[in-house]
């Protein structure tokens, strides 16, 4: 609950109170004290009225689905119900306008409800950032009859949306592997794929039919299979260094950073998936997790979790990721490690090979 006073209203109120005091200092009886007591009681009775209004007010808000795509429009519904005797007068609706756009419900819209009355409002909504955050109605604000003060209350039940980032090409150029390798002269960790090799042996149960060397088999009159040779394949590790910000401090700046971060990571992962470059993505999801993206299916598996899956369970998890970052390195050539920092410090790059 937050109370704020309006300067103009307070001045008028103080003048009224002073006038009541002066009047009562010269004249006794009901005629003067009624005004003095009115002035004195105005604020507490208004506050009481507002509290009763809030006590009997129920607010529900919902969207068709919790998981949405950034920028897509969905239908959002608000239900306001006044279960009390006292009507609600011009309650101001405060929305999360910094992170979502509601078409038909403006921020600061006034709503009045009669006694035992119910109203439904629906509006299209689109979320501005990727991530997991509350959308819709944030607060309701009540003002006293004479504009002296207002009291805002948090909506008891907020709606938490999981907004997936769009798949863009924002990260593509930044993580061009050829450039990275050419620039750094590093080779990826040896990961092999099987190709038919020169060596052969007699067929054994379980060997792939495609491995049978028919020419050799005909010559030797027994089925011979080629032994596979290992081919070096390019691999990559991407570490997502997310910030550890408690939920209560996740403001618009945080959402912007997270949005950019997720979009970038998803873009990178998609780029690698398209190129067929197996990518190990290391990210915090409660504990530190690793997810290999080497196909469309694995990419979308990662994509489906990334919107609400990036968070630290404890401080230790954050420390563990930092340790991983400091221990992993591309210097000795074992693997290419790309570090994507959600909020780089001064002098640090947003995306860098470490």
């Amino acid at each position: 609950m937050k109370i704020s006073f309006y300067k103009k209203g307070v001045i008028i109120f103080l003048l009224f109170l002073a006038a009541g005091l002066v009047f009562s200092s010269f004249y006794g009886g009901e005629v003067s004290f009624v005004w003095l007591y009115s002035a004195i009681l105005l604020i507490p009775v208004s506050f009481l009225y507002i509290l009763i209004n809030y006590k009997f007010l129920s607010i529900y808000q919902e969207m068709g689905t919790h998981r949405v795509l950034k920028g897509d429009e969905h239908s959002f519904m608000f239900v306001f119900e006044n279960e009390g005797l006292l009507p609600v007068h011009k309650m101001q609706l405060r929305t999360y306008k910094d992170r979502c756009m509601l078409g038909d419900v403006e921020d600061g819209m006034l709503l009045s409800l009669g006694s035992f009355n119910r109203k439904e409002l629906s509006s299209p909504i689109s979320c501005k950032y990727a991530g997991t955050y509350d959308v819709g109605l944030a607060e309701v604000l009540f003002t006293d009859p004479f504009g002296i003060f207002s009291v805002s209350f948090d909506v008891p039940y907020k709606f938490r949306a999981i907004v997936s980032p769009r798949i863009t090409d924002s990260g593509e150029k930044a993580v061009d592997i050829e450039n990275i390798i050419n620039n750094t002269g590093l080779k990826s960790l040896m990961q092999f794929e099987d190709i038919p090799g020169s060596d052969a042996r007699e067929y054994q149960k379980g060997d792939a039919v495609s491995a049978i060397n028919w020419k050799l088999s005909a010559r030797l009159s027994r089925i011979m299979v080629r032994l596979p040779e290992r081919k070096e394949k390019r691999t990559l590790t991407m570490i997502m260094e997310a910030v550890d910000v408690p939920e209560s401090k996740q403001d618009t700046e945080f959402l912007k950073d997270r949005d950019r971060f997720l979009e970038f990571v998803v873009s990178c992962a998609y780029s690698f998936a398209v190129q067929g470059v197996p990518t190990k993505i290391v990210y915090p999801s409660g504990v530190v997790k690793e997810h290999i993206v080497n196909s469309y299916e694995s990419f979308f598996e990662f994509y489906g979790t990334v919107a609400d899956g990036v968070f630290y369970g404890t401080k230790e998890d954050y420390d563990k990721l930092q340790e991983i970052i400091s221990n992993r390195s591309s210097v000795d050539g074992e693997e290419t490690v790309i570090l994507i920092r959600e909020k780089p410090s001064l002098g640090e790059e947003y995306c860098a090979v470490i």
């Binding site: 009886g29 009901e30 009859p145």
Partner: protein, 743 residues
């Protein structure tokens, strides 16, 4: 239900408005002599509101059957019956109240733009109420009605101001808020007197005093703050302080009562002089009682100008080593222990308590003045003092207390043998270097006067001609009044330069003049406290009550205080005015015994009350039953009338109109029976969906005809009688029990 709650809010506002309106009208009409008094009563007002509410309730019930002004008109019809029934009863004004309420009810119902009228009217009505109060000191029947009138007027004005200025004449804040406010306002008691800010100022002052009590006084300067102090004074401008320095507690009355020349009883407040640094004045007491004894004063005579009193003395914002007590103190007790001497070795601070017994003497009494005068003149004969036992007996005889409790035999004998002037005469005759002006003045005032007492009075009366003023220019010096030089300097300045001053100046002047006249004199410092008329548990002596006065030593009498300061009443003006009373006759007056008649009224009274209660009940029944019956009758008439009118209208209507009416009824029935409360979008398909399956085809057909009728244009033929019959049949089936579907 929300609609009913909104209606309740409007009705509350209307009722409150009507209350204030009737109250104001009664007050205005009361000014006219022809106005019947019985109407200017709480009963009439509340009956009017009750009937107003009664019509509102009936109107609400009738509104279920017929809407609009018809229901209002019918709701006030019972008022005629009420008036006729009530005018023959003891409460004839109740009938008038019923009519008044009916008229008001009808007026407000027929009023166009009622909300605007109420809003503007509230401000006007409030203004009228305040005008009535300001100009006529209006009573508004009684306190309770006045309270409610102003409370309601205030909330109506607030509601109007809120709607007009804050909502710009749209949708004002719910009136329930103002109802809640009015409830609080009505129950909080309101003083008939304006706010007494003295209480706040006292609290503030006490706080400041308590802080400054513990802080050293670092501000000196040109002004002298009143308060108990030593003899060191500046003689400059006086600044009165309201610090409480001493609290007195006594069971005695704070005033004396006497009869003036017309026989009227007059109360005169007691004046008490408290001196510091003297303690119990045993020598003074011994001298005084010996004087009385020599003058042959008996108990009755002594009572005229003296009495033994007791007082509790509590130090408050005071720090001193002195024992402060009323003059002529007999004994000072602290924690039941006798306090000897006038100065302690310990500093007395707040909380220090003394119980003082003292001899209160009326020095302004003419009889005492004669005794003193005569005793003082009779210096030739060496007075023989009473023996201790004689003194004890005499003291007990005249005052009823033992002298031994206050003065031991040794102290008594010492006082008698060594004299009552401790320290010797020379100390109290010392004048230092006085100017010739002063000496001439002393001579001029006393040369033709015989007797020390009369000399003292002459000087006193002379000095009382000087102007009392506290605004004296400070000359930068500090004077010690206890020294002849200090007192002399003050006196010189006062007598021959400024010509005005306060107690310090008057006292110093009298001191010097007395001494120059050969009369031993001393300065006393302490307090001069005038009791209030109201008896209290304690009395507070403030800093401004600090005082200095001279005392002259008159042989065979002792120290006698004088009041030369012209700003205060003299001893004579403060006299108790007691006179010697004749002893009452001891004969008893015998009254004949009276036979009181036998008292039987109680029985009659209870019979009367029973009869009265019974008649009220009968009258109530005689009024309520017909009214109730009339309301039922009206209800029946309304219902029957509505049905009849509807039937006539229907029968006289064209086919198209009949069809339309039937369709509206069909819609109403479907809506009534539908489980879900759907909004009317103006589409008959919404209704069709909710019709029972077996009637759906019928409904479809009827609605189709209706659409054709509405949108078919002039080319299409109007609805036929057969089609009307179909609609009537569907309507009849639906109203007789077929349940609607939900979608």
């Amino acid at each position: 239900m929300g609609k009913n709650i909104a209606l309740l809010s409007d009705e509350l506002q209307l009722h409150i408005f009507v209350f204030v309106l009737i109250s104001a009208c009664l007050e205005i009409l009361y000014g006219f002599s022809a106005f019947p008094v019985e109407y200017y009563s709480k009963s009439f007002l509340f009956l009017s509101i009750f009937f107003f509410f009664f019509y509102a309730v009936i109107g609400y019930v009738f509104d279920l059957i017929v809407s609009g002004k018809v229901s209002v008109l019918f709701s006030v019809l019972p008022s005629i019956l009420l008036f006729l029934l009530l005018k023959r009863t003891a409460v004839a004004y109740a009938g008038v109240a019923a009519i008044v309420a009916a008229v008001l009810r009808l007026s407000f119902a027929l009023l166009p733009k009622r909300k605007t009228v109420l809003m503007a009217g509230s401000i006007v009505l409030g203004g009228i109420c305040f005008y009535l109060w300001f100009s006529n000191d209006a009573e508004f029947v009684d306190g309770a009605v006045r309270n409610l009138t102003y409370v309601f007027a205030a909330v109506l004005i607030l509601a109007a101001v809120q709607e007009f200025f804050y909502e710009k004449r749209k949708d004002g804040f719910p009136f329930y808020f103002f109802v809640i406010l009015s409830i609080f306002l009505a129950v909080i008691p309101k003083s008939q007197e304006p706010i007494n800010w003295n209480v706040v100022l006292d609290v503030g002052r006490k706080f400041v005093e308590s802080v400054s009590y513990y802080m050293p006084d670092i501000f000196g300067g040109a002004s002298y703050n009143t308060g108990y102090s030593s003899f060191n004074v500046t003689g400059g401008k006086l600044h009165f302080t309201e610090k409480i320095q001493i609290s007195l507690s006594t069971f005695d009355m704070p005033y004396y009562t006497f009869e003036d020349e017309n026989g009227t009883l007059i109360n005169r407040r007691k004046v008490l002089y408290l001196a510091g640094g003297r303690g119990s004045e045993k020598d003074q007491i011994v001298s005084f009682i010996n004087m009385l004894h020599s003058a042959g004063v008996n108990k009755q005579e002594a009572k005229v100008f003296s009495e033994v009193c007791s007082v509790g003395v509590d130090y408050r914002f005071l720090k001193t080593y002195d024992e402060i007590a009323p003059i002529n103190a007999l004994s000072l007790l602290r924690n039941e222990q006798i306090v000897e001497g006038g100065k302690s070795t310990e500093l007395h601070k707040t909380g220090y308590h003394l119980r003082v017994k003292y001899l209160s003497i009326d020095y302004g009494n003419a009889y005492l003045a004669d005794i003193i005068r005569n005793s003082g003149q009779d210096l030739g004969n060496q007075k023989a003092y009473m023996s201790f036992s004689e003194a004890c007996d005499y003291f007990e005889e005249i005052y009823g207390v033992e002298l031994l409790a206050y003065v031991s035999e040794e102290e008594y004998n010492n006082a008698c043998e060594k004299g009552f002037l401790k320290g010797g005469r020379s100390e109290f005759l010392s004048t230092g270097n006085t100017s010739s002006n002063m000496q001439d003045l002393a001579k001029e005032l006393t040369e033709n006067v015989s007797g020390d007492y009369d000399k003292c009075k002459s000087i006193e009366n002379y000095l009382r001609q000087y102007t009392y003023s506290t605004d004296i220019k400070y000359d930068g010096e500090e004077y010690d009044m206890s020294t002849p030089e200090g007192a002399g300097a003050l006196a010189e300045k006062f007598l021959f330069e400024d010509g005005e001053g306060y107690c310090v100046h008057f006292t110093s002047s009298m001191l010097m003049l007395l001494r120059l006249s050969g009369i031993p004199a001393r300065v006393s410092v302490g307090y001069r406290y005038v009791f209030p008329f109201e008896k209290a548990d304690s009395y507070e002596i403030l800093g401004k009550d600090a005082h200095a006065w001279p005392e002259a030593y008159i042989e065979n009498v002792g120290w006698v205080p004088f009041e030369p300061t012209s700003g205060f009443r003299s001893m004579e003006e403060n006299t108790w005015n007691r006179v010697l009373q004749e002893a009452p006759d001891n004969e008893k007056t015998v009254y004949p015994s009276m036979q009181a008649p036998k008292f039987t009224q109680g029985e009659n009274k209870s019979n009367e009350e029973d009869a009265k209660e019974e008649s009220i009940f009968i009258e109530l029944v005689r009024v309520v039953l017909p009214v109730f019956a009339s309301i039922i009758g009206l209800l029946v008439v309304l219902m029957a009338g509505t049905v009849l009118i509807n039937r006539i209208v229907y029968n006289m209507a064209s086919a198209d109109k009949k069809f339309e009416i039937n369709v509206e009824h069909i819609k109403k029935e479907i809506r009534k029976k539908s489980a879900d409360d759907f909004a009317d979008r103006g589409l008959l398909s919404d209704y069709e969906k909710r019709v029972p399956d077996e009637l759906r085809d019928n409904a479809k057909e009827v609605f189709g005809i209706y659409y054709r009728m509405l949108y078919g244009g002039s080319d299409i033929s109007s609805v036929s009688e057969e089609e009307v019959t179909k609609a009537e049949a569907l309507r009849a089936i639906l109203s007789h029990g077929a349940k609607a579907h939900t979608t």
